[in-house]
Structure formats: structure tokens, C-alpha cells
């Protein structure tokens, strides 16, 4: 009976998601354990559950957990955004990074720091970026990311640009914003310049519990929205013209999906800086295994995004400890060859 076969086929996909979930949890414990203070597996579990000595709880809950949770959430968000953009633009190369949305957010952040004076760099014993207005940085980053997303939508809809061309246009728009950032930096004073450069590194260390909570809320809401639209996305995948006679308005679905996916990309970038390749790789890898069915690819790309960014960040923290590398550099450094490998193997 075909129905049973289809059911067992669906179970295979559910099993795949469960395996990803288990891997994510193992990675979380592993990441919480990694650092200058060696804790051991059971101590980490105890710490998470709020047992054990106060020093342990402080290390786990106040130092490591915000960073680990931030990595998982940002990875989930980027995986989701990449997947939705790949569906909506019908292009496996679409992602916040390749469409220029991340670069636009970076320009927005640079603009707010340099022109609007939202932040600067503090020298001396505690050298770090400080923000006069943290939310202004995020807000400007968000606005420019959104603007870029609208340009991309406009190119596709009004100018009838083919999906392949939109990805290329995204590359061009991205380099336009990057050059804008360079120009702003050229005219900035040293401290602001340092702040912008440090900002754009892509670093999860600046996430506090407050930002993590906000990321959690934004990404959960986005996930709920995307998941409620899973059937609409599947409909769109089978064809734009057929979609309308199946009751799905492609323009409406695309507009809101791009808006929300750019929104979460903008929030993540505005908090953590530019983190490339997660949004491109996570959906791509999961699609290879379980296909494009959004009922499963949406959660799958989200979970793998979380795993990938968490592993990349843990690698960044530990590889030449005590120096912590910017995670954005690590994801691009490891992501680019991995993506090339996937492309070559796919042929």
C-alpha cells in the first residue's frame, strides 16, 4: 500500500530532524564545557540545572550560556532566513549574505556609529566598543537591510529580473554597501573607525542575556510565521502561476516572507555583525538529504544553522585560546570550501 510507504517516508524525515536535535543538544553541552575553565560533562549538566557551587553556576549562566544560546539562536535565524529566501527567490544561492542584506545592515551600523554618533571605541585597560545608543545601531542596520530587501523584491517583480539574475544583482548591491561602508570609514575618526571595524567582525561575545532574549522572541515569532506558511511555500515551489489557482498569492507571500527573513537577518547582523555562509549552507545541506518539502526543511535548516554556528563559534573560542577569533571569519573560512565541495559533489 502506497500510503504506508509514504507515511514511513515521512517518519524518516522526522527521524532526521530528531537526530539533528540530538546533535544540537550534544553540541550545546560541548560548547558550554569548552573554555579556559574545564568543567566536565556532568558539571555542565549540573550547572544548567542550577545545581552545584555558585562559581559553576556563574560561569555557566552568566558567561557561557548567553554566548552559546546566542550562537544557537543566530544560527537558527540565519538558517531560516536563508531557506525562506531560497524558496521565495527560487534560487539556491539566495541568503542574507549573498543578497547584500548583511552588508546593508553593516552599512547601517557604520552609518549610525560614524554619522549619528551611536557608538565609539574605548581604549585603555578595558578596550571595547561602547554604544551611546545600542538600539539606534540595530535600528539603522535593520532599516538598511530592509531597504536592500525591497530593492531585491522590486528587481524581481517590477523589472522582471530572472531568479539567477537576482542573486547576481544581490552580489552587486552587497558590494555597493560594502564600498559605502569603506567610504564612511575613510572619513571617520580613529575611535569610531575602530568601533565600526570591530562591529563588522561578526562576534557573538557582545551578546548579553537581554539581546539573547530579544533574539529568542524575534526568531520564535518568525519561525511560527514561516511554519504557518509551509504549505504556501510548497505551493510556490511547484510553480508561480499554478500557485494563484491554488489560492496562494505569490506576491503577497513573497513580500512578507522577504520582509520577515530580512528582518531577522537584520536583527542578527545588528547584534552580532556579519556572519556569512550559515544562511547559504544550512538549507543547502539539509535539502540534499530530505528534499525541499518545507514542512521538514524549515525546521531542518533552522536546526542545522544552529549546530553550524555553535560549532564555528566554539572553534573560534578554542582554536588559539585564550585569543577568541571573530566567528564571522571562521564561518566564511570554513564555509566557503565546504560550499565548493557540496557544489562539486552535486554534479
Amino acid at each position: 500500500m502506497r500510503g504506508k510507504t509514504y507515511q514511513s517516508y515521512l517518519w524518516q524525515k522526522v527521524l532526521f530532524l530528531l537526530v539533528l536535535l540530538v546533535i544540537l543538544n550534544i553540541a550545546i553541552v560541548f560548547a558550554l564545557n569548552a573554555g579556559s575553565m574545564k568543567l566536565g560533562f556532568w558539571a555542565v549538566v549540573k550547572g544548567i540545572l542550577g545545581k552545584g557551587p555558585d562559581a559553576l553556576k556563574t560561569v555557566i549562566w552568566e558567561i557561557r550560556l548567553p554566548r552559546v544560546a546566542g550562537a544557537v539562536l543566530a544560527g537558527i535565524g540565519l538558517g531560516l532566513a536563508g531557506n525562506v529566501q531560497q524558496v521565495l527567490l527560487k534560487n539556491p544561492l539566495a541568503s542574507p549574505f549573498t543578497l547584500g542584506i548583511s552588508q546593508a545592515a553593516a552599512f547601517g551600523a557604520a552609518f549610525s556609529i560614524i554619522v549619528l554618533g551611536a557608538g565609539s571605541y574605548q581604549t585603555g585597560a578595558e578596550a571595547k566598543i561602547y554604544y551611546a545608543n545600542r538600539y539606534l545601531v540595530s535600528l539603522t542596520a535593520f532599516i538598511f537591510a530592509l531597504l536592500t530587501s525591497l530593492i531585491v523584491l522590486w528587481l524581481g517583480k517590477v523589472k522582471k529580473l530572472a531568479p539567477e539574475a537576482i542573486a547576481l544583482a544581490g552580489v552587486a548591491i552587497g558590494s555597493l554597501w560594502a564600498s559605502g561602508t569603506t567610504l564612511l570609514q575613510y572619513f571617520a575618526d580613529e575611535l569610531k573607525l575602530a568601533a565600526v571595524v570591530f562591529w563588522s567582525f561578526g562576534d557573538l561575545g557582545r551578546l548579553g542575556l537581554e539581546e539573547v532574549r530579544l533574539l529568542g522572541v524575534v526568531i520564535s515569532l518568525a519561525f511560527i510565521y514561516f511554519y504557518l506558511n509551509r504549505w504556501n511555500y510548497n505551493t510556490l515551489i511547484t510553480g508561480e502561476e499554478g500557485a494563484r489557482s491554488l489560492g496562494v498569492d505569490p506576491n503577497k507571500i513573497r513580500f512578507w516572507g522577504m520582509l520577515i527573513s530580512s528582518g531577522i537577518a537584520a536583527v542578527i547582523t545588528s547584534f552580532c555583525g556579519i556572519i556569512g555562509f550559515i544562511g547559504l549552507l544550512a538549507p543547502h545541506m539539509v535539502r540534499r538529504v530530505i528534499g525541499n518539502d518545507q514542512r521538514f526543511l524549515l525546521p531542518g535548516a533552522a536546526l542545522l544553522g544552529g549546530v553550524l554556528l555553535l560549532l564555528a563559534d566554539t572553534f573560534a573560542r578554542t582554536v588559539i585560546s585564550p585569543v577568541i577569533l571573530p566567528v564571522g571569519a571562521v564561518t566564511s573560512f570554513l564555509g566557503a570550501p565546504l560550499f565548493l565541495y557540496l557544489l562539486l559533489r552535486g554534479k
Binding site: R2, Y9, N232, I237, S245, L246, V248, G291, N292
Partner: protein
């Protein structure tokens, strides 16, 4: 009348495509749209399926102007199969299940799965139900699109060249099947076809279009030597074999000596 097309005109910027097209289709009828390349056949179907907004005139479905109806209501009534099929990494079963979209509220129910199973069985596609679309041939993709349309269970089927990409046997099989479905379930079919003889065996009515204007509309008698010449610019003879009209282009006869 199930469908009434009243004075529909459509133009792309700087290029008129449809000019004052009017016709009516009754429930359960099968209509073949025939015409020269670039006549506006696909544009007409896109207007009827709400994919293109008409510039002048109106289209009524069950008496309601289609652009004013709720999209979901419309989707419950009208199914559309585009000329070109999208390839993606969805399985055949999932791609057909998408046809149930107008019926799905929160998630696909057992009934939705049963409808898909039944359609796949009728189309003899059960063996490749779990294969991905990007592993199929052009003809198989075409069958998936037909299956999706049948799974939708609409009252009116709009088909843009449903038999392109299919070999001769499958062309007739699909048309026979569509006709059987239409008769049994009182579905109405409007299909763009290129083969006049195929159309004659499939349809009850014929709409002949030349460069965006209707040349003739009616039963098989409209496929006359004169009308065929008007539309395609070639001379053809219409014979009757076993009481079924057969169109033979005269060029073929000359070439054969």
C-alpha cells in the same frame, strides 16, 4: 453558464494580445482553444486563471466576476496547469499533495492523502511517487502537473498544452483520462491544443483564435477548410472517417505526391 468571457482585451505595454474576446462555456463541456503561435491562447488562459489582470471586459464564473472573488473560493473552483513545469527537489507525492492546498486548513488530512493516492493510481504513477521531481523526464513532470490538478478537484480545469512533452501514447492516454474525469465528475475543461485531430477527438467545442481575435467558436463544424486557412494560413482538407472528422493539411498530400 459556468463561465462567461465578455469582451476581454489584454495588452502588454505596446503590444495588443487579446481583442474583445467573448464566449461561454457550460458545465461539463470540453473546450479546445486552437490558434496560431502568438495568437494569445496562453494569455487568455492566464487571464481566466487570474494570473494576468484583464484590461477590458470581464470574466464571470458562476455569475461572479472572478477578480472580485476571494482567491481561496476561486481556488476551490478553478485549477490551472501552466505550460512550463517547475523542477525542484520535492517528491512526486508531495508535489501532487500541493494540489490539495485549497482544501488544507492547518495540515493535510487523511482524506487529502487518500485523494493523492487515488490520483496517482489512476495515472499509473504509483511506482515513482517517492522520486524527486528533478529526477523525472519532461513527460513525467507533465503527468505530475496533471495529477496535481486532478487532486485539486476543481470544477473548471484550465490546461495550457497538457500534451506537450508527452509521447503519442501518453498524449492520448492523458486526454482520454481528462475526458473521463470531466464526464464522470462533471468537470469543465478548457485546454490549449495544437493537434487539430487530437482536439477533434477530445473536445465538444472549439475556439479558433488568430492574432488575439476570435475567428470561430462552436462545435466541430467550425474546423472547416476555410477557418483553418484563416488561422494557420495553410490549406487543409477535412474528411470523415468512421463519422469522425480528420484534418489533413494539403501540403502533406502534395509532398506525398
Amino acid at each position: 453558464m459556468l463561465l462567461e468571457v465578455a469582451g476581454v482585451s489584454f495588452n502588454y505595454p505596446g503590444k495588443a494580445v487579446l481583442n474583445n474576446v467573448s464566449f461561454k462555456v457550460a458545465e461539463g463541456e470540453i473546450l479546445a482553444i486552437l490558434g496560431n503561435n502568438g495568437a494569445g491562447k496562453s494569455t487568455l488562459l492566464k487571464c481566466l486563471s487570474r494570473n494576468l489582470k484583464i484590461k477590458k471586459g470581464a470574466v464571470y464564473l458562476e455569475g461572479q466576476e472572478i477578480f472580485r472573488t476571494n482567491l481561496r473560493w476561486f481556488a476551490g473552483k478553478v485549477g490551472y496547469m501552466a505550460q512550463r513545469q517547475e523542477v525542484s527537489r520535492l517528491t512526486v507525492f508531495d508535489a501532487v499533495l500541493v494540489g490539495r492546498r485549497p482544501h488544507i486548513r492547518l495540515d493535510a488530512t487523511q482524506k487529502d492523502l487518500e485523494v493523492v493516492e487515488e490520483v496517482l493510481k489512476i495515472l499509473e504513477m504509483e511506482e515513482f511517487a517517492l522520486r524527486f521531481l528533478d529526477e523525472l523526464s519532461g513527460g513525467e513532470l507533465q503527468k505530475v502537473a496533471v495529477a496535481r490538478l486532478l487532486a485539486q478537484e476543481p470544477k473548471l480545469l484550465l490546461l495550457d498544452e497538457p500534451t506537450s512533452n508527452l509521447d503519442l501514447r501518453h498524449q492520448y492516454e492523458i486526454l482520454k483520462l481528462l475526458k473521463k474525469f470531466a464526464r464522470e465528475r462533471k468537470m469543465t475543461v478548457i485546454a490549449i491544443l495544437h493537434d487539430l485531430n487530437q482536439a477533434l477527438r477530445f473536445a465538444d467545442k472549439f475556439l479558433l483564435i488568430k492574432d488575439g481575435e476570435i475567428v470561430a467558436f462552436g462545435d466541430e463544424k467550425v474546423l472547416s477548410t476555410e477557418n483553418i486557412y484563416k488561422v494557420y494560413g495553410i490549406k487543409a482538407l477535412v474528411y470523415k472517417i468512421n463519422n469522425v472528422p480528420v484534418v489533413i493539411p494539403q501540403e502533406l498530400l502534395i509532398d506525398a505526391g
